[in-house]
């Protein structure tokens, strides 16, 4: 709730829009990298917005910081580490696949495998049942007997 209020206040206080032309770097290559990095960083005070889209002043500061680091020659990973070191992993929209977050990443594939295994076991059982549908020797004999009559 506080976050929402804060967000609303920030919005009113400064109606700045997402990425501003004055923030952008002259070098298109660096700028493209900056945009890509910004789109994966969460605005710390907003509700689920990345800093590239966000109107909050702190996002503007972060966008400028990202560009500053890029101009200084940091790699993308270094820039992200720089931001995470200051704001925590909360700002990462894509949790790193390490520690307990591995569960998150593996949940889908694990469930697919488990589901496929169950489905396969069931279909085996069904296939056995299907075999049983074929006439047994006794049935065939009985059929032949009936047909002869």
């Amino acid at each position: 709730m506080m976050r929402a209020v804060l967000f609303a206040l920030l919005l009113v206080a400064s109606p700045a829009l997402a990425v501003q032309p004055d923030e952008m770097l002259k070098d298109p290559g660096l700028e493209a990298r900056a945009r890509a990095i910004s789109q994966n960083l969460r605005c710390p005070v907003c509700q689920g917005e990345d800093i590239d889209d966000s109107n909050a002043p702190i996002s503007r500061d972060l966008r400028l910081a990202v560009r500053e680091r890029l101009v200084a020659g940091d790699s993308d990973a270094q820039v992200i580490d720089y931001v995470v070191a200051r704001y925590g992993e909360f700002v990462l929209f894509q949790p790193r696949a390490e520690g307990s977050s591995l569960i998150l990443w593996l949940a889908g594939p694990a469930m697919l495998l488990a589901g496929a295994a169950i489905a396969l076991a069931m279909s085996r059982r069904r296939a056995v049942a299907a075999e049983a549908e074929v006439l047994s020797e006794a049935d065939k004999a009985r059929l032949a007997e009936l047909l002869e009559k």
Partner: protein
């Protein structure tokens, strides 16, 4: 007085729901026809009472009755009439009233359209439906009463969130709720079947139309929400993987799976337990979605209720209904014996794969959505899960689904030969590969998303067309087209819906991969190039709206000197809510949208301008509409109207109670 009457009818409806949830159930157990017969009038009366209550609240909003707390908080006299009405459900309490209205509406529909249902099944379905109504009306009356009065009514209200004042969004919640709540019918049928211990082809035929209807509403509701996000929120994004969006997407995925598995029950009397489980889960995800949205436990742009008491109550409802139904399922599932057998290569197996992929993708969305909560509670880590995760973790399942779709749709039931099934699809496969390669060659050096999306889209759409062609039998083109009108609607619906899926897959990939963006400062009178277009900022004017001030730009788009469009992007300020919004101006085209946004005045006298070319934007929602249309076609199939009651007399033998 009218408000008090509405309040009174809501309490009365709660009482009726109590009766509806108990007597018919007891009657079905005792085989007492008189007790079972209570269900019918109870369901209809409950609906009429809630409709009266809803009408009373709408009256309060329309007349701007500021002695009502809810109206003060969400309305304003200067608001246009459309949004006064939409304001009824643009808030927590009112949207719950809409929720129970639709819930009781579905119950009443079961009475009106269910005259051929066996008495005991209908009694049980209505009882389960009634018990959901009891839970939600208790929730409303105890924690979220929309009819609370204020002692000192203010002169005017606080206005509705300006972002929500939009025609697209005014009708987005009702559609979504029709979908969410429609799944309660599948749930009620599933519980009734478990109580009865019997699931057969006739049951599948009864459940499918309800699921189909709910799925159609969900599809339209989600598409509307996404379209609204596209032109109203941010910069033309159409899907943000926001918890509230996910809340609507999970039931959609599960109900899509349920639609398909119900076909297997209906046609082959197989996958019964799984279908019942899916029906329970689909409604479970609906309730989970309600919990996520209503409790505000996972903060998102949509959360408007942050009261923990409410969250705990809904969690209780979720726990009782899911815990209860899953326990019942665990005890009774073994009674549901599968009859139809099938080989590994068969339509049934393909539908199992479809179900597996849809269920797992829903599960991925679910884990991603609640993971921040789990990480904080269990691992004491404050982290975020956002679009990059979902894009990476969800997309592979959809790709797999698209690959198997045309093949599975054409495999024969029971036992099939892969080679023979693949033969008619060779053309489609070649076409898809050719399209993929062509796109790859044309778009040199960009992401693989474009070519893969184009190839998959071509594969699914052409596969659906091949399916249709095969269905039309043999002979000349004319003879085949002649048979088109005699094709069962369900077959036609399948082709249309599958094509829609292909179109959406292609459009999402195309728009994401090929969007062109330009951000710059533009002075008045200045022209800049955007792709092959020239955009001129003619003027920026101050305009007064009914309840906002607007800064409106006048922009001309030319191509080769010819005027293509004159667009007026706006920046609005809603003084009552104290909130600015940006209104993008969009020139919609078949192959591209031009998307212009005006920003703030800059120090040098210019304006910040964002402009985009969004290729194939409309195809995203066009595909969704095709899916919905396919659903509607399938829903109109003759067999749901004519043969729905034809439960085979041979299987009358009842399971032991």
């Amino acid at each position: 007085m009218i408000i008090e009457f509405g309040h009174f009818t809501l309490v009365l409806a709660f009482m009726v729901a109590l009766v509806q949830s108990t007597l018919p159930l007891w009657g079905a157990y005792r085989r007492d026809a008189r007790l079972m017969a209570v269900g019918d009038p109870a369901a209809v009366v409950q609906f009429l009472l809630i409709a009266t209550s809803f009408a009373a609240l709408t009256y309060g909003f329309v007349t701007s009755d500021f002695s009502l707390k809810l109206v003060v908080e969400n309305s304003h006299t200067a608001k246009p009439m459309l949004y006064k009405v939409a304001g009824v459900w643009g808030n927590h309490e009112g949207s719950l009233l809409l929720w129970v209205l639709i819930l009781s509406g579905f119950g009443a529909c079961a009475v009106w359209f269910g005259s051929n249902l066996p008495m005991r099944l209908k009694a049980r379905v209505l009882a389960v439906q009634g018990s959901i109504g009891v839970a939600f009306m208790a929730f409303m009356l105890l924690t979220s009463n929309p009819f609370l009065r204020l002692e000192n009514p203010p002169m005017n209200g606080n206005d509705l969130n300006p972002l929500l004042q939009d025609p697209g969004l005014a009708f987005h919640p009702p559609f979504l709720y029709l979908g969410y709540v429609g799944l309660s019918m599948s749930f009620s049928f599933a519980i009734a079947a478990l109580l009865e211990g019997r699931v057969d082809a006739a049951w599948g035929r009864w459940v499918r139309p309800w699921t189909l209807a709910a799925w159609i509403f969900l599809t339209i509701g989600i598409a509307m929400g996404s379209w609204w996000a596209y032109y109203e929120l941010g910069w033309g994004g159409f899907w943000f993987w926001d918890p509230v969006e996910n809340a609507s997407f999970m039931p959609w995925l599960i109900s899509a799976a349920l639609l398909h598995s119900a076909i297997v029950v209906e046609k082959r009397e197989s996958l019964k337990a799984w279908t019942v489980l899916l029906a329970i889960l689909a409604f479970g995800f609906s309730l989970t979605g309600t919990f996520i949205v209503r409790s505000g436990v996972i903060t998102s742009v949509h959360a408007f209720a942050n009261d923990p008491a409410r969250g705990v109550f809904i969690l209780g409802i979720l726990g009782v209904f899911m815990g209860g139904s899953l326990t019942l399922f665990a005890f009774r599932a073994s009674v549901l014996e599968a009859k139809g057998v099938f080989a590994v290569v068969s339509r049934e197996t393909a539908l199992v794969a479809n179900n597996l992929l849809l269920a797992v993708s829903a599960f991925v969305v679910f884990t991603g959505t609640i993971w921040p909560l789990i990480a904080e509670l269990v691992f004491a880590r404050k982290l975020s899960v956002g679009p990059p995760f979902f894009d990476a973790a969800f997309t592979p399942f959809m790709v797999a689904l698209a690959i198997i779709l045309p093949l599975g749709a054409m495999l024969p039931w029971k036992r099939a030969e892969m080679g023979r099934a693949l033969r008619p699809l060779r053309g489609a496969l070649l076409l898809a590969l050719a399209v993929g390669l062509l796109v790859y060659a044309v778009q040199t050096g960009r992401s693989a998303l474009g070519p893969v999306g184009a190839a998959l889209g071509a594969w699914v759409v052409s596969g659906a067309l091949v399916d249709l062609w095969q269905r039309l039998g043999r002979g000349s083109v004319g003879a085949r087209l002649g048979r088109l009108s005699r094709l069962p609607r369900a077959d036609l619906g399948k082709v249309v819906a599958h094509s829609g899926m292909g179109v959406t897959i292609f459009a999402v990939a195309a728009m994401t991969a090929w969007v062109k963006e330009d951000i710059r400062t533009v002075k008045i009178g200045e022209t800049f190039a955007l792709g092959s277009y020239d955009v001129t900022l003619q003027a920026v004017n101050k305009v007064e709206g009914p309840n906002y001030h607007s800064t409106m730009a006048d922009m001309i788009v030319r191509k080769g000197g010819v005027v293509v469009a004159s667009l007026h992007p706006e920046k609005r300020m809603y003084p009552v809510a104290g909130m600015p919004t940006t209104e993008a101006a969009i020139d919609q085209g078949v192959f591209r949208d031009l998307y212009l946004v005006i920003g703030d005045a800059q120090d040098d006298g210019g304006y910040a301008v964002r402009s985009y070319i969004k290729p194939f934007a409309n195809w995203i929602w066009g595909g969704a509409l095709l899916m919905a249309l396919g659903g509607i076609l399938s829903l109109s199939d003759r067999r749901f109207r004519v043969a729905a009651g034809a439960r085979k007399p041979a299987v009358v033998a009842m399971a032991a109670e």
